[in-house]
């Protein structure tokens, strides 16, 4: 019996076992490990603070998505010995493997920044990358009369790098709808030198901030949160005051990876960017947010990468050369407020460009442009996620990015 062990039953891990179970024969056992019984639809966190979604709408039991023939083991990972091919759980359980897939994702770590988890935490300092944080923020926003709202990114990479921008756009829209937008001063603070990394999208998104009267503070690398004065302080001693801070804390990969020699300074597993195979071990892959791929940490990347990974994995375990190459393809709906949204589509080499998707010339989705249909696409995607993506059904979207339908413009 050959043993495949998958660590993490989130978006990537769940898709992988659903894709591989029917493709691997009876001579393979598949085990998947996770410490949380609930699967969260993470893109839904963004909508919780504004009351669009209730927490119950974005949570389902994990085991519902694990197919027959796959063992789901609940437990917290404490140790990986990549030389002995074993993993240990907090309760002492030892799991052996022939092949290991690390899909333990990334989590926000507010404790990494001095003062972030101080007196003001969940009083006037919030995150929205956890269900707990986004729910607490919903309660706060409901009664908030206004003041200085600072939307802030601590350090890159983060999960869904467009989410803080979406938060700023939705906040603008939320206060407009409530009729008190003029009582709220919104500042967007980022360690990047613009609203976004890539020039064409950065320019477009920067203009969208301006249009909404949101001030951009670039190149801000946070050192601490001053709980006394309610300011965020950068390493070069700039101070930005806030009444309400909505921050994206430092994101990091899982702690059991520390000391394994497999991961970088933020606990992301170093992998070949085209195959997701560990650079250190020939029987270990890392997929989804857990890997150090130089693209967005996002469900769409996990989805496209897994299409490629599945074929490669089947070749690799047979001792064949892996012939499929992941290109870093990602696409994201970007909520822009007022019932509209944008769509961006890109990969390692090609930045987000305007055009139509997925059918060149027709769409129906417009890239880098605000439309109501893009917003509806984002809302519909929740259904697609639960009913097609997680169960591993094929979606009619190519895994690799295509230039067809895109306009090659200058920033």
């Amino acid at each position: 019996m050959k043993k495949l062990l998958v660590l993490g039953a989130g978006t990537a891990g769940t898709m992988i076992v659903n894709k591989l179970r029917p493709r691997l024969g009876d001579e393979w056992s598949i085990t998947i490990v996770d410490q949380e019984p609930e699967h969260h639809y993470q893109p839904g966190y963004l909508f919780v603070p504004f009351g669009t979604y209730q927490p119950s709408q974005i949570v389902k039991p994990k085991k519902k998505f694990i197919p027959k023939g796959v063992d789901l083991v609940m437990g917290s990972l404490t140790r990986l010995d990549a030389d002995q091919n074993v993993v240990e759980l907090a309760d002492g359980t030892v799991l052996e493997y022939d092949y290991l897939v690390i899909a333990t994702g990334a989590t926000p770590r507010p404790e990494e920044t001095e003062g972030m988890k101080g007196d003001q935490w969940q009083e006037n300092v919030f995150d929205f990358y956890t269900l707990e944080g986004s729910s607490a923020l919903a309660d706060k926003l409901r009664d908030w009369s206004g003041g200085r709202l600072v939307v802030h990114i601590s350090e890159l990479p983060i999960k869904c790098p467009v989410a803080p921008l979406e938060f700023a756009f939705l906040a603008d829209s939320y206060f407009r709808d409530r009729g008190n937008r003029e009582a709220v001063e919104i500042t967007y603070v980022t360690p990047l030198d613009a609203a976004f990394t890539k020039p064409v999208a950065a320019k477009r998104l920067g203009t969208m901030l301006e249009d909404r009267g949101i001030t951009l503070e670039p190149d801000f690398y946070i050192e601490s949160v001053d709980n006394e004065t309610r300011e965020i302080v950068s390493y070069d001693e700039r101070r930005i005051p806030f009444d309400l801070l909505v921050t994206v804390p430092v994101n990091m990969g899982a702690d059991f990876l520390v000391g394994t020699g497999l991961a970088n300074d933020l606990n992301y597993v170093s992998v070949d960017h085209e195959t997701c195979l560990s650079k250190k071990k020939d029987n270990i892959f890392a997929v989804g947010d857990a890997a150090d791929l130089p693209t967005s940490k996002a469900g769409s990347v996990a989805h496209f990468a897994i299409e490629i990974f599945t074929e490669n994995f089947l070749q690799h375990v047979e001792g064949q050369e892996m012939t499929h190459r992941f290109d870093g393809h990602a696409n994201c709906f970007v909520e822009s407020g007022g019932g509209k949204g944008m769509l961006i589509d890109f990969n390692y080499e090609t930045q987000p460009l305007p055009g139509k998707y997925p059918i060149p010339g027709l769409g129906p989705f417009k890239l880098l442009e605000e439309t109501e249909l893009n917003h509806l696409g984002k809302l519909m995607f929740k259904w697609v996620y639960w009913n097609a993506l997680l169960p591993g059904r094929d979606l009619p979207l190519p895994a690799l990015m295509s230039m067809a339908g895109k306009e090659d413009v200058e920033a």
Partner: protein, 117 residues
């Protein structure tokens, strides 16, 4: 296993530039693209291009970046220069004001650190 190409430069426009009398390859933002074309002399000129006069503390950081790139194949992040290189982040901001990660990579002749999208 596929061959890993650590010096990813596909898609970026490359051109030749003359720095301190040497002809070197640079990308569209002026970052050198060939690890072996760099020398400390060139580093000094690159630094002065962006208004930085190199001191021992500056060299300490740049030498760490060069060594680390050789073994890791990617440009070290600020976090790594602090954690592994042992240079406090605050000091990096004093030495290379405003944009230390980008400025250090520029001076060290390494690819701009990946600002993930």
């Amino acid at each position: 296993m596929l061959k890993h190409d650590s010096n990813e430069k596909g898609g970026r426009a490359l051109s030749l530039a003359t720095i301190a009398g040497h002809e070197v390859h640079v990308d569209d933002e002026g970052f050198m693209t060939e690890y072996d074309e760099w020398s400390e002399d060139l580093g000094k000129t690159l630094a002065s291009n962006i208004g930085i006069e190199m001191t021992d503390d500056h060299w300490n950081a740049i030498r760490f970046l060069r060594e680390d790139y050789k073994s890791e194949g990617v440009t070290a992040t600020l976090r790594r220069v602090t954690n592994t290189g042992g240079i406090p982040t605050k000091q990096l901001f004093q030495l290379f004001p405003k944009k230390p990660a980008k400025k250090m990579a520029y001076i060290a002749g390494l690819p701009k650190p990946v600002g993930c999208v």
